[in-house]
């Protein structure tokens, strides 16, 4: 029943797509790292929307473009090496091609690795008729001494082939023309079907007519038979429910379709089982080796290796950045550089923004008074909610607007996989996936984004570990706390000229500690709650590519900065109101804040902090950015969060409250280790859909933070530090 409903969903979806003014539905397929998303962006521009595939935590990007009065809807399928459905991504891509009946399927091909990409192309050609090949990265291929004979390739594959360099927009016009031609039927395709090796061909020759008897004449009957032979349950179901006949038959021009009877089906499945038993064990091997043999033959005809270039810049760079002596120093220097540029660069714009936004607050205040609004309302709205918003924007926006472009630059350059390559051994020891490195890098910007990026990890166990430990990488929102502590308690001992350098050095040290904790906790999880060995792991090391300025700006500013800032604002607003209430509602002559701090003080002192800091950490669960202003408010006993002070003034204020170097160190440790912010917790819930893991994602860091802070505070005090 469920399947029938699903079947209708697919139909419904296609119907809705076209009803919203689209004439054609176009799917974009391809291997990972082929520049598929660049092609997608190049075709759709800003007319795109990213959501999730129904019921799956896999991102689904869709967009649209116009050509010659026709509107095209473009769906970006997950990047996969194959469509033989061994992973969720592959299943999504395959089901879309099979059941949503796109008018055109564009396969983006990396020209530098023709054989492996043709593997996917040949599989797509087996399922769909209306295919266009986007031969991307032809410039890179030329640099590697590879020349592609586009005409020959097009003849061999039986579909249009369009060479492109998508990151500079080259060839995209021709691609659109080809898509339009195939969609309208002006270009007639005759897709090449790969040659099967003898043994399996004999079996198929026998079985295909039997399937055909049951399903009617289907264009992709051979592919469906192969899937049935392999015991593909999804295809099995589609036959059972008649979904296959109704979908593939009506939409791809089959002449006969009918719903099979129960007996017919039973007989067919029995025969399939018998046939499959003959070749079962090596069926997959046969199919894949047939495809690759074909891919090799096609590639050897149309891809000419002009000359192996001697100056292979890629491997030269790789030899340096992964060398035994330089690999780690380069990573640490780069990390420090990113921190330093972010801290230095954010300083002035932060102050500028703060000035502007607090000026606006004064105007708002005046407006409230002019209307004669009661004082509590003005306090709650202006000095509570608005002020915390202003603080979050001024503290968060500039560093993010600097950090994310830098991060995206390194990402686009192709350096991040090299980091993963260098430190993978730690993850192997921890029993997790090496791609966790990439999710951690993302976490530096925002842990919620880091948690989402864990989707790239295939094994559910390893993905969960990456989600649970992402919090140990300090995000942008926690930097202000770390920077302030590093500046006024650590760097203060150094001349002002090197203070931001010292601050970033402290940041790197504390970050390395967070990374070490990540390994330890991951290893502990792998040996206890999430027991298991690390599964098969492969890391693709793409060629270095010159990053595209416009793409960096788009990805980092619109896709990352603005979205994350928006979420932070949504959460910070209610927190601001709460802070105002805590600081302004008096019971027995003392504010709520003071009462709460009194209760928490003994625990706070035990772990090297104090009552006010703990209260701040509870109030600031929604947004870590407002920790410092909340602490300042608590110390000053004023009724509102305070504006930027000079660092000397701040230092005096903190010291007067009994703040010491031990407190500063423990606060930095607590900041890195403590539970994730509300946005991240919400994201963890969305990604795992499990109350247990969402709770543990908060509990594990909290326990780690308390234990570490307790240990550090007690040992430092024993050693004579106050």
């Amino acid at each position: 029943m469920n399947i029938r409903r699903k079947n209708r969903d697919y139909h419904q979806e296609r119907h809705e797509d076209l009803e919203r003014g689209h004439d054609y539905l176009v799917a974009l397929a391809g291997n990972p790292n082929t520049g598929k998303s660049t092609v997608f962006n190049g075709l759709t521009g800003l007319r795109q929307h990213v959501g999730n595939w129904p019921g799956k935590t896999v991102a689904r990007a869709e967009g649209s473009f116009r050509y010659m009065d026709k509107r095209y809807k473009l769906i970006d399928l997950p990047g996969t090496y194959s469509l033989l459905a061994t992973a969720t991504d592959e299943e999504i891509a395959r089901n879309f091609l099979l059941f949503n009946n796109p008018d055109v399927v564009v396969v983006v091909v990396d020209s530098t690795a023709p054989e492996r990409n043709l593997n996917l192309v040949l599989q797509v050609l087996e399922i769909s008729n209306n295919v266009v090949i986007c031969l991307n990265l032809v410039d890179e291929a030329a640099r590697k001494g590879l020349q592609v004979n586009v005409k020959q390739l097009s003849i061999d594959l039986g579909v249009p082939v369009v060479p492109t360099v998508a990151n500079v927009g080259k060839g995209l016009n021709n691609l659109v023309k080809a898509i339009a031609g195939v969609a309208s039927g002006k270009i007639v395709t005759s897709p090449h079907h790969f040659v099967l090796r003898t043994k399996i061909r004999e079996v198929l020759d026998e079985v295909v007519p039997q399937v055909e008897k049951v399903t009617g004449d289907l264009p992709n009957i051979r592919w469906i038979t192969m899937r049935l032979l392999e015991g593909d349950t999804r295809i099995h179901q589609t036959l059972d429910t008649g979904e296959l006949a109704s979908l593939v038959g009506t939409n791809q021009g089959a002449s006969v379709t009918k719903e099979p009877t129960k007996d017919e089906l039973k007989e067919l499945f029995d025969r399939m089982k018998a046939a499959a038993a003959l070749i079962q064990k090596s069926l997959y091997d046969y199919i894949v080796s047939s495809i690759y043999a074909d891919a090799e033959a096609i590639a050897s005809k149309s891809v000419i290796k002009v000359e192996a270039l001697k100056n292979d810049l890629d491997s030269k760079i790789d030899r340096i950045v992964t060398s035994r002596f330089m690999g780690f120093p380069i990573m640490i220097v780069l990390l420090m550089a990113v921190f330093w540029i972010t801290i230095e660069g954010a300083n002035v714009p932060s102050q500028f923004l703060a000035k502007g936004l607090f000026w606006l607050e004064d105007q708002l205040s005046m407006l409230f008074r002019w209307f004669g609004a009661p004082q509590w309302l003005e306090g709650l709205v202006v000095h509570g909610t608005y002020r915390s918003l202003a603080w979050v924007v001024s503290v968060m926006l500039p560093p993010m607007a600097i950090f994310f472009p830098l991060f995206t630059f390194l990402e686009d350059l192709g350096y991040l996989p090299r980091i993963a390559f260098n430190i993978d051994r730690f993850f192997k020891w921890a029993g997790t996936d090496g791609k966790q490195t990439l999710t951690m890098c993302m976490g530096f910007g925002c842990n919620a984004a880091g948690v989402t990026s864990c989707r790239s990890i295939n094994s559910p166990r390893e993905r969960l570990i990456a989600i649970l430990t992402n919090n140990f990488v300090p995000c942008n929102g926690r930097w202000p706390t770390l920077i302030l502590m590093a500046t006024i308690f650590v760097a203060a001992a150094f001349p002002p000229a090197v203070s931001s350098l010292t601050a970033s050095f402290t940041l790197v040290a504390i970050t390395l500690m967070g990374i070490a904790i990540t390994f330890v906790i991951s290893a502990m999880l792998s040996r206890t709650l999430l027991k298991g060995e690390s599964s098969f792991f492969v890391l693709e090391m793409p060629s270095y590519r010159r990053p595209q300025f416009s793409r960096i700006l788009y990805t980092s500013l619109i896709d990352r900065t603005i979205k994350i800032l928006y979420r932070a604002i949504v959460w910070a607003a209610p927190a601001g109101a709460l802070i105002w209430v805590m600081g302004n509602v008096h019971i027995g002559g003392e504010t709520l804040m003071t009462h709460a701090a009194g209760v928490l003080s003994p625990v706070g002192l035990l772990i090297g902090l104090d009552g006010i800091i703990l209260v701040a950490y509870i109030i600031a669960i929604p947004a870590n950015e407002i920790i410092i202003p909340t602490i300042i408010m608590g110390y000053m006993g004023t009724s509102m969060m305070t504006e930027f002070q000079s660092t000397a003034e701040l230092h005096a204020l903190f010291v007067a409250q009994g703040f010491t170097l031990v407190t500063a160190i423990c606060l930095m440790l607590f900041s890195v280790l403590h539970y994730p912010c509300a946005t991240t917790t919400h994201t963890i819930w969305k990604e795992t859909r499990s109350a247990k893991w969402t709770i543990l994602s908060n509990l594990i860091p909290l326990v780690a933070a308390v234990l570490v802070c307790f240990g550090v505070a007690q040992s430092l005090r024993t050693l004579g530090f106050s």
Partner: protein
Amino acid sequence: MHLSKHSEYKTLAEIKVGHRVIVVRLLVEGLTRRRLLDLGLLPGTEVVAVMKSPLGDPTAYDIRGTVLALRSEDASKIVVKSLSS
């Protein structure tokens, strides 16, 4: 297959950086085998070890024009025959 009797056979995990080998057989079944096959690691495929991580593992290999890093556990399941020398 008795690896000890045929000294020209090794596993992919054992070859040195710069060596060129040809895949003979995959000693693994199930999902891992499928993933390896999908990446083009079939019997008869040429593979070159390109570089080693500073920590000794994983190793990156050139497989059909793409550089892919494999952990020694996974690479040790691929039997290869030397091509260079």
